[in-house]
């Protein structure tokens, strides 16, 4: 996975995975330095992140209500999962969400980043404006968006009506509620990924574009042959994180639709939260969480494999 993820460095050199430790004196020296560099952060990481994960994994094999000590339950939680039609539905919902959200997120954030990477004046103002949704109060965002998308009084449908398109009921209809959440989460998250892409764009050496311009390459050609390939590691980062984040969608579904209508926006983490903290079945919630974990791992690995074969 590391090799796949690392891909090649921008200059097309060997990936770190290929530099085996012990190859030479120099690399052994480097390995020692690497271990030294990584030690303090990794100790914190193991204690405060990995240990709780292992603890939760352990809990998934117990019956645990948080209030009283857990009792060993073996595979009972996982057996219960097999019959849980609601949880299966949440997995289906979230796959649909990811399929809509992740590609749209990559496309829009990259487009905005490339546009705002221009040297024209006032770009900083626009970047700040586009970042504002990230820091806008979620309550305000949910309030305004659910109103904007209201079937009868919302401006979105008014504009659509003006264009002769009958607008749907958006969050009020089980067939469009998830799409509405995709739109709102895109709106809210695109600023962050735009920022990552902007940072990635700064690392592309300017001379590459100068050379391309001398060869008479147009804007599109420059994007396709320089920008996009040079952003490989950035895109891998944005895609992976968007996937991981999208699979754990909770807040917006909780605030905007409460999982409805008709359970159409019920997500796995929503259900896990309900199960663990409202219904006091933390053991079962943990089993649900690790099932979701396996799905995320599978999709992430698949995504990495696909991206690699794409360009080899």
């Amino acid at each position: 996975m590391t090799q796949t993820l690392a891909g090649r460095s921008a200059a097309g050199r060997a990936s770190p995975g290929r530099a085996r430790p012990g190859d030479s004196l120099l690399s052994r020296h480097q390995a020692r330095a690497g271990a030294l560099f990584a030690a303090p952060p990794m100790v914190l990481f193991l204690v405060f992140t990995v240990l709780p994960v292992i603890g939760a994994l352990g809990l998934s094999f117990t019956s645990y209500d948080v209030l009283t000590p857990p009792t060993w339950a073996g595979l009972a939680n996982y057996a219960r999962l097999l019959k849980d039609a609601t949880f299966a539905l949440t997995l289906k919902n979230i796959l649909l969400y990811c399929a809509m959200f992740v590609p749209a997120m990559i496309a829009v954030s990259l487009l905005l980043a490339v546009a705002l990477n221009s040297r024209l004046p006032a770009m900083g103002v626009f970047r700040t404006v586009y970042y504002i949704p990230v820091v806008t109060s979620p309550v305000a965002a949910a309030t305004v968006w659910t109103w904007m998308l209201n079937s009868h009084y919302g401006p979105v449908n008014e504009i659509l009506g003006f264009l002769g398109i009958p607008g749907p009921a958006w969050v009020g209809d089980s067939s469009t509620a998830m799409l509405s959440i995709v739109l709102v989460t895109l709106w809210q998250g695109v600023g962050s990924n735009m920022l990552i892409y902007l940072a990635g764009l700064q690392n592309i050496p300017g001379h590459l574009y100068e050379a391309a311009a001398l060869d008479g390459a147009g804007r599109w050609a420059a994007f396709a042959h320089i920008t996009w390939p040079q952003l490989r590691t950035t895109t891998m980062f944005v895609t992976t994180l968007s996937l991981i984040g999208a699979f754990q969608l909770f807040d917006q579904a909780y605030v905007m639709t409460k999982g409805g209508p008709g359970n159409s926006t019920l997500t796995p983490v929503y259900q896990i939260y309900e199960t663990g903290f409202n219904r006091l079945h933390m053991g079962y919630a943990s089993a649900q969480a690790f099932t979701l974990f396996l799905v995320i791992v599978a999709v992430t690995v698949l995504n990495m494999r696909l991206n690699r074969s794409d360009e080899t």
Binding site: P16, L44, L51, V53, Y130, Y131, S137, A140, A199
Partner: protein
């Protein structure tokens, strides 16, 4: 001529998209300035009939808003400092200095992000509570309250996020390998190569990471709530939650508070985004 039209069109599109991005913010702003009886209305009124600052006063007096603001600032700044330093150290090691077990560790790092934090909450709490030799605990972590009710309970678990390490690793990977090679042959210590050659080139990534970790720390709600007991240690998000109880929401003060709460992040952003300007960071010099 054609260029002028294209540029005008470009700005027009940017402005339309910008307005769209700003709508909820504008609504918050307008709500925070309206008297109560104007707040609920349909269709939404974008301009207050009468402008009042009473909600800003209420936001600061109903809860110890200033105190909570300062607490959040402390926690968010600590998060930025630790994540930038530790995240880039680990990210650099994973990208450029492979060591025994580094691949396993990195996979573990990635995997840890895929477990919903809802289920790790209780185990995390127990680790903080049973942290050895803190808060009256003995070596086995028994007997006291560990790190509970100290800022460390928030700072240490958030000191280095998988996100920070992953992001920095990706950016170091994108930098050419040969940058450090010459220095290495000259016998330059690894830390100097990292600190003097690679890290400065990552300024755009560091600025981005700073903004992200600040936002994450600033928006922290559930975790600080659980590990901090003293009301004087509360964070700004807890203040904001105070305007909504028993199925009623006090929109005026809530929105006034939200607007004030946005300011630090926006200031940081406006400052940090200067590092994302072409030509400032990486002009391509020294690469030929």
């Amino acid at each position: 001529m054609i260029r002028t039209i294209r540029i005008t069109l470009f700005y027009a599109v940017l402005t339309v998209v910008g307005l769209f991005m700003l709508l909820p913010f504008l609504w918050s702003l307008s709500t925070s300035l309206k008297p109560d009886d104007e707040i609920i209305s349909l269709p939404i009124t974008w301009l207050p009939g009468t402008i009042t600052f009473e909600h800003y006063g209420a936001a600061f007096t109903t809860v110890p808003f200033a105190r909570h603001f300062a607490n959040s600032l402390l926690l968010a700044v600590a998060g930025v400092a630790t994540n930038l330093l530790l995240g880039s150290l680990a990210g650099y090691a994973f990208a450029r200095l492979p060591f025994r077990g580094s691949r396993v560790l990195f996979r573990l790092l990635l995997a840890s992000m895929m477990v919903p934090s809802v289920v790790t909450l209780v185990p995390s709490f127990l680790i903080v509570k049973n942290f050895p030799l803190a808060g009256g605990n003995d070596l086995t972590g028994q007997g006291g309250f560990g790190l509970l009710n100290t800022y460390w309970a928030v700072i240490l678990p958030g000191a280095v996020g998988a996100f920070a390490v992953f992001m920095m690793r990706q950016f170091f990977l994108a930098l050419p390998r040969e940058l450090g090679e010459a220095a290495r042959v000259d016998g330059c210590p690894e830390f100097r190569i990292f600190w003097r050659i690679y890290l400065p080139l990552c300024r755009p990534a560091l600025a981005t990471l700073a903004v992200f970790t600040f936002v994450a720390g600033w928006n922290g709600f559930l975790w600080p709530l659980i590990v901090l007991n003293d009301p004087d240690m509360s964070t700004i998000q807890m203040s904001l939650a105070a305007f909504s109880f028993n199925r009623q929401t006090d929109y005026g003060p809530l929105m006034a508070g939200s607007i004030v709460a946005m300011l630090p992040t926006l200031l940081l952003f406006a400052f940090g985004q200067r590092y994302l300007t072409r030509g400032l960071a990486f002009t391509g010099s020294g690469l030929q």
